[in-house]
């Protein structure tokens, strides 16, 4: 809704006299340059207006899902030549560990003929022509927390703003009924913690807001037990009246902002049950996602994400942590694919048929890849796993201005190093910002005497990915 219009309605509802209204809107106007969530235009017209980032935390194996390496099967059981490994440090394995072949069958899929492990990702295989696969991702970090924080904030230590925060900082909010940046989590605990969606040194209004799958979806969004809608409304009315008196007395525009915030809080209280209510979805849609109405799952989070962006939410993160297959990679990845395959694919299909995919960017991937070498450690009870691997991994993008049906970049025969078109994490970040309409070098924030940006002093937009 038009903000002026909203304000007018709001003040009308407040029952303010004309004089007061004039003062209030004068103050609110004076405020607007300071309103941190006012909608803003990006540097150039955006291809993507919103983002859904499916963060496969724990790091899925590119070698078993997206990047076919028949050579690995041939080398199975033998160590890699030291010339390949170089000085790389590992979390658990020794660099001379033996090679392990791919655990799943790869298959050419769709019209584009992109190869992936359709055996464990049958639904994703169906939408492969909508995906833009980057097989040449690289990162600097080989431990989970730093790598996740790095992918989100461009820096391996906590303290900098996340991608979602930068997006909202740059674009403002499309709706005031819901938070602009929402975070969900469906798997195990997330290594990087809240630093992943922190606003860092940006004001905290840009931080991701947790949407919880148990209890209240947003903390304190429900009134305490025994307080009905009327009581809540009357309480808020009284708060507003008393605050208004204070505003008339003290004249601080912050009071007007607070009155506004309470109005928004009230709207949030009524909109939260609405967007969480999946009963309004058709049976066909629920079947598409394969989710239960009330049981938390990744697929259900994907469906909620679609509902959120329909309602003007700018940036949604869904964390699915659990891909850290140090042992029994086969079992681990089967389970995780089972949990995420249908939801991810359904999201693409659903967005597409609603015409939302064109300007919604979907991102799928983990914080790094996994080693071609096997991880086995009797003392730790581990066998047939893979360790962390920062030199190469795969991510996919869809919608929002990226080329569909594309495979970008290549790794060597062992999937160890990138050999063609490397895409560093900072390049991906630059590209995502580009899709959102930003020159990543110009989207900056002055902190401690320096203009900080998501990509630090690095990052190049990967033109080849752009539609």
């Amino acid at each position: 809704m038009d903000r002026m219009m909203q304000r007018r309605q709001f003040f009308t509802r407040c029952g303010l006299g004309l004089g007061q209204m004039a003062l209030a809107s004068l103050l609110a106007e004076a405020q607007s340059p300071n309103d941190p969530l006012a909608p803003k235009k990006p540097h150039f017209p955006a291809k993507a207006k919103r983002v859904i980032h499916l963060f496969m935390a724990g790091a899925p194996s590119h070698l078993d899902l997206f990047d076919p390496k028949p050579a690995l099967a041939k080398l199975e059981g033998k160590p890699l030549p030291p010339s390949v490994i170089g000085g790389q440090r590992y979390a658990f394995i020794r660099p001379d560990a033996a090679v392990m072949g791919p655990r799943f069958k790869f298959q050419k899929c769709g019209k584009s003929g992109v190869e992936l492990a359709a055996e464990v990702m049958p639904r994703l295989a169906e939408v492969v022509d909508d995906l833009c696969l980057i097989r040449s991702m690289r990162t600097d970090q080989f431990n989970h927390a730093p790598a996740q924080i790095f992918l989100n904030t461009g820096f391996s230590q906590p303290g900098r703003p996340s991608l979602g925060s930068w997006a909202v900082y740059g674009l403002g909010a499309e709706t005031r009924d819901l938070p602009a940046f929402v975070v969900m989590s469906t798997g195990a605990g997330i290594s990087g913690g809240s630093a992943n969606w922190s606003s860092g040194f940006l004001p905290t209004v840009y931080a991701g807001v947790r949407l919880r799958s148990t209890g209240q979806p947003i903390l304190n969004v429900a009134s305490p037990r025994g307080i009905d809608a009327r009581l809540q409304k009357e309480s808020l009315d009284l708060v507003r009246t008393l605050n208004q008196k204070r505003l008339d007395q003290d004249g601080d525009p912050e009071i007007a902002t607070r009155i506004n915030a309470y109005e928004m809080a009230f709207r949030l209280q009524s909109s939260a049950p609405e967007f969480m209510d999946l009963k309004k979805e058709s049976k066909e849609t629920l079947d598409l996602y394969g989710c239960d109405l009330d049981k938390p799952s990744f697929a259900r989070a994907c469906l909620i994400a679609r509902r959120l962006i329909e309602r003007g939410v700018r940036f949604v993160n869904i964390y699915h942590e659990g891909w850290d297959a140090h042992s029994d990679l086969t079992g681990n990845h089967k389970n995780n694919c089972q949990a995420t395959d249908q939801g991810s694919a359904a999201l693409i299909k659903d967005l597409k048929r609603r015409g939302l995919l064109d300007d919604t960017l979907v991102i799928w991937g983990g914080e790094f890849g996994r080693t071609p070498m096997v991880e086995t450690n009797a003392a730790l009870g581990r066998s047939l796993g893979r360790d962390h691997h920062p030199q190469a991994f795969t991510m996919w993008l869809a919608g929002g201005g990226v080329k569909p049906g594309l495979v970008h970049g290549e790794t060597d025969d062992l999937g160890f190093h990138v050999v063609k078109d490397p895409v560093h994490v900072h390049d991906l970040q630059a590209t995502i910002l580009h899709l959102l309409g930003f020159d990543h070098e110009k989207l900056t924030y002055r902190f401690q005497g320096r203009d900080f940006r998501l990509t630090d002093v690095h990052g190049k937009v990967v033109q080849a990915l752009l539609a």
Partner: protein, 982 residues
């Protein structure tokens, strides 16, 4: 709208007016810094065309081509002018690739400056503060102390008048909130109102400064800088114990420990001669860095990250400089080279980082009782137990071998430092990695060696009391011995078998002989105790030189912290349970043992034998009741023989150390004598030789009272920072602070007794247009309360607040999902029982990856980085918290319980409640509104339209009334006026 623009225009010129006498500082350098220094500044590596513009001599030098960037007085001959005015894309500066363009006005400023002679002045913050006499003013009656003259002189220059003094109720509330972080009770406020003495206000100030609550209030602000938290951060985010440091801060502030001493103790308390326990606890300041416990990390890499955090934090807190910028390359704007950064790094880089176990008042009585019972036990054997004791002595004697302690002639650790102790044990300090080796050489000729014994010993200096040094990821105090090998005169010794007195699970000593690094011996579950492993040789042999090697390898650092080696010629020796110090006694003949020796044996039997288990039960019970050990994280300077080298790191990367550096201060700070140790560095930081510390410190305190500092960029006094709004006042305060013995309480007293502080905070439209951020201070401060103060206010005004000073952090109510759902290091948020549910906010347990929800909603810190200035946001989520949060509801219910005991009439009780929360009495209008609300809701509760019991919670008395009061109090805590200091 146009008024707004004019306001911005005027405000934009404010600092320049203050610096009117310094055109370069106010107008020129900001342009050069923003547009030119990145390529033509201090950083040599990125300097373009060898042109340096931040130093005059360099800028005036002719280039090889002969052209000069700056020719003083001759803009037409100055290349700089030509290049900024040209339209040629290949020529113009800044180049189009930088995406920076100078405005016409900026170009003219540079041209004018060169025409005027291109004078450079040194950046104000690097010059010592200048003593300026407080200026004279027209309204001579207004100032209450010299500080006011600076403010007023400026206002008069701007043709503004200060606001009238705030009324006494506003003042008493403001003072309470500022000085002790709590609202006054109505009685406390009335006491001030009744005090008609002329110095009533000053008396109140002194009373508040002396309140223990003062230390709590101001500790929280310091803890933001110290990045204090109760967990380690990163993935695992496990609990740490460093709350004794937090309590030290509270006590230091309450005692008004002078800020110079306060600083020295926190940065280098361990190095002070005869350092007290308190001074060692204070070094926790730089132990508040995070520890990554993720499986498989390189601990030294994350220690490096902790070090960069220490340098950045030190820069922010004591220098107001963004030193972090020079980690990867020479600072682009401030004159600090990358090498100088690592020289500062070196000051802080020579400490070990152990835990310090502390005496615990809470445990004293129980420990005494335990000691008494242990003393008593050996005298309480039954005849049956007497017999069993004698049998044990005989049996133990028969299995005890004669062991000899080996004292190494040489000892070496890969990274760790091995030090021989008097008792022949080896104590380990220094750095550790995921793969550490020890090598010990024994040059004593040994006859007939049949077995080697490795005794591992606990020590209070080790994590979890040892014997191992595991401090992250694995079980604290454990170790993991992967391989044990010995060489007799160079030849590898073959062992027949290995036994141990204790092992965790299947991690037995025999696996230290199998050649597989993944298996080995560990003792988790037996921390804090002595254990042993015995390696029996395949056959006894004579050795003239014995060499022992140990390998500790795990996906976390797992080396031993204290151990001792023994040998025996007894071929049947195995690892036993008997402490080694009892062995010589056991080996004596019965009649040779003295009574004290017998007593030791009896005591050991009483405390360990299964036959005496029943006897020990009261002791075991008492032990279970002991609180968790009181301990804290500290710095301990390394011994001279084991200095930690510091290197410059290429691009700031841990893996790319280049040249070694030693300690030193950046040249720009012009130290008269170069400090060389951490202690000397700390002393320099708070000496008059540091031009920054006084200004940075008083500015931070100023901001705490007024919302914005005299320098708005509290964390940056460098070239990119803001200029001070009142430079002379800043210098005057800084000097005053230092000369008054660095007393923070005196500084606070000076500020709050000023007329400036006592002004009404009312915002008038003209003032709003003129100075929206109140930088000129033509009115009093008006700032939303900090998260913790806000919660404290709710609890205090409901009577729930439990005022207990210090102690371990507490867990007030919040939904358990906050620290469990989606958190890797899940924390079961078990709400504290009793009064701990309602302690002050600074005692709330701080989990870095999932901070206390109410506080983060109100811009509280996560403790991950040093925070000089909290954001103040105003959001719908804050509204939801105040409306619906559990704590607010419980406080409101407490009000409900109180109000029904009050027999006064409704209006009177409404007024009373209003004053409890807002200090001032309500207007008639406000009473009417509240009364209407109260009655409506009471009616709805009474006719069961609403569930009174659900709202009012448990408690005696009329539930309908309680419910109505509950919802009324809830409204009052949601008022802007309640949550704002005004």
């Amino acid at each position: 709208m146009s008024i707004w623009k004019i306001a911005l225009f005027i405000i934009g010129f404010l600092p320049w007016m203050a610096y009117a006498d310094d055109f370069f500082a106010s107008k020129v350098r900001p342009i050069l810094a923003t547009y030119c220094f990145k390529c033509h500044g201090p950083d040599e590596t990125t300097r373009k065309g060898k042109l340096r513009l931040d130093v005059r001599e360099a800028a005036l030098k002719p280039a090889r081509s002969g052209s000069r960037a700056i020719v003083p007085g001759k803009p037409d001959e100055s290349e700089l002018v030509a290049r900024i005015f040209t339209d040629e894309e290949t020529e113009v500066m800044p180049p189009p690739s930088t995406k920076l363009t100078l405005t016409k006005e900026q170009k003219e400023i540079l041209k004018q400056w060169i025409a005027d002679g291109a004078t450079y002045t040194e950046h104000w913050a690097f010059l010592p503060p200048k003593r300026v006499a407080p200026p004279s003013v027209l309204a001579g009656h207004w100032p209450r102390n010299p500080l006011d003259r600076f403010i007023l002189a400026r206002l008069e220059r701007e043709r503004l008048a200060p606001a009238p003094e705030a009324d006494r109720l506003t003042l008493v509330r403001r003072l309470y909130l500022d000085l002790i972080g709590l609202p006054p009770t109505p009685d406390e406020a009335d006491e001030f109102l009744r005090d008609t003495r002329p110095d009533a206000y000053e008396r109140l100030v002194d009373r508040l400064l002396a309140s223990p609550a003062y230390g709590e209030r101001w500790a929280r602000r310091w803890l933001d800088l110290a990045r204090y938290a109760d967990t380690n951060g990163y993935e695992k985010d496990r609990v740490r114990s460093i709350w004794p440091y937090r309590d030290w801060v509270i006590a230091a502030l309450n005692a008004d420990l002078p800020f110079d001493q306060f600083t020295i103790e926190q940065l280098a308390g361990d190095m002070l001669p005869g350092a007290t326990l308190e001074q060692r606890i204070a070094t926790g300041f730089h132990r508040n860095t995070m520890i990554n416990e993720e499986g498989g990390i390189d601990p030294l890499e994350f220690r490096f990250h902790a070090m960069t955090d220490r340098v950045a934090t030190t820069g922010t807190v004591w220098l107001g400089l963004t030193l972090g910028c020079a980690q990867c390359h020479t600072h682009k704007y401030d004159p600090i080279t990358q090498r100088e950064y690592y020289q500062l790094f070196a000051y802080l880089n020579n400490a070990d980082e152990p835990e310090l176990f502390l005496p615990d008042d809470r445990a004293v009585e129980k420990l005494k009782e335990i000691a008494r019972l242990e003393e008593e036990l050996p005298h309480r054997f039954s005849p049956e137990q007497e017999k069993q004791f004698q049998q044990w002595v005989e049996q133990a004697r028969s299995t005890t071998a004669r062991w000899t302690v080996l004292r190494p002639s040489a000892l070496k650790g890969s990274l760790p430092l091995l030090t021989l102790q008097d008792d022949g044990s080896i104590f380990v300090t220094g750095d550790q990695s995921k793969s550490d080796t020890y090598e010990l050489t024994f040059d004593t000729p040994l006859k007939n060696i049949a077995a080697i014994r490795l005794e591992v010993l606990p020590d209070d200096r080790l994590p979890g009391r040892g014997p191992g040094r595991v401090y992250y990821e694995g079980p604290q105090g454990d170790f993991f011995l992967s391989e044990f090998s010995a060489f007799a005169d160079g030849e590898k010794v073959t062992f027949r078998e290995a036994s141990q007195s204790f092992a965790s699970g299947n991690n037995k000593a025999k696996f230290t002989l199998d050649g597989d690094q993944q298996t080995g011996w560990s003792i988790n579950g037996g921390q804090g105790k002595t254990h042993q492993a015995v390696y029996r040789l395949d056959k006894p042999r004579d050795v003239s030189q014995l060499r022992v090697q140990m390998l500790f390898e795990k996906y976390y650092a797992a080396n031993l912290g204290r151990f001792r080696l023994w040998v025996t010629s007894d071929t049947s020796a195995t690892a036993g349970e008997v402490p080694t110090e009892l062995e010589p006694i056991l080996l004596l003949d019965s009649e040779q043992r003295t009574p004290p020796q017998w007593a030791l044996l009896r005591r050991h039997f009483a405390l360990t034998s299964p036959h005496t288990k029943k006897l020990r039960e009261p002791i075991d019970q008492l032990r279970k009741q002991l609180p968790a050990p009181k301990k804290t994280l500290v710095f301990v300077e390394r011994p001279a023989e084991n200095p930690r080298p510091t290197f410059v790191h290429h691009r700031g990367e841990f893996l790319e150390p280049t040249e070694p550096v030693t300690t030193g201060l950046p040249a720009i700070l012009k130290p008269p004598a170069m400090p060389s140790t951490r202690l000397e560095f700390a002393r320099w930081l708070v000496s008059p030789d540091n031009p920054l510390v006084g200004r940075v410190t008083v500015n931070r305190h100023w901001a705490a009272f007024f919302g914005t500092g005299l320098v708005a960029t509290q964390q940056d006094f460098g070239l990119q920072g803001d200029l001070p709004s009142h430079p002379e006042l800043l210098d005057w305060l800084a000097l005053e602070f230092m000369e008054r013995g660095w007393s923070v309480k005196q500084l606070h007293r000076l500020i709050v007794t000023s007329a400036t502080y006592r002004q009404s905070s009312k915002v008038t439209p003209p003032l709003l247009a003129r100075d929206p951020n109140n930088r000129l201070l033509a009115r009093g401060p008006r700032v939303r309360l900090e998260a913790e103060v806000l919660r404290d206010l709710v609890l205090r005004s409901s009577g729930l607040l439990a005022m207990r000073l210090g102690g371990p952090s507490v867990f007030p109510p919040q939904p358990p999902e906050v620290t469990s759902e989606g958190a890797y290091g899940k924390l079961d948020w078990k709400v504290s029982p009793g009064a701990d549910r309602y302690r002050r906010g600074l005692y709330t347990f701080m989990k870095r990856t999932a901070p206390f929800a109410l506080f983060s909603t109100f811009d509280g810190p996560s403790g991950e980085v040093c925070l000089a200035k909290r954001e103040v946001t105003n959001t719908p989520l804050q509204a939801l918290s105040l409306l619906n949060d559990q704590t607010i509801l419980e406080a409101a219910q407490a009000v409900g319980r109180q109000m029904i005991d009050d027999k006064a009439d409704l209006n009177h009780r409404l007024k009373q409640l209003f004053r409890q929360i807002l200090t001032r009495p309500p207007t008639d209008d406000e009473v009417e509104l509240l009364r209407g609300f109260y009655l409506t809701q009471r009616h709805r509760f009474a006719n069961k339209e609403l569930d009174a019991a659900a709202v009012a919670g448990e408690g005696p008395g009329n539930v309908v009334e309680r419910a109505a009061w509950t919802v009324t109090a809830r409204v009052l805590w949601n008022l802007d006026e309640t949550i704002v200091k005004r």
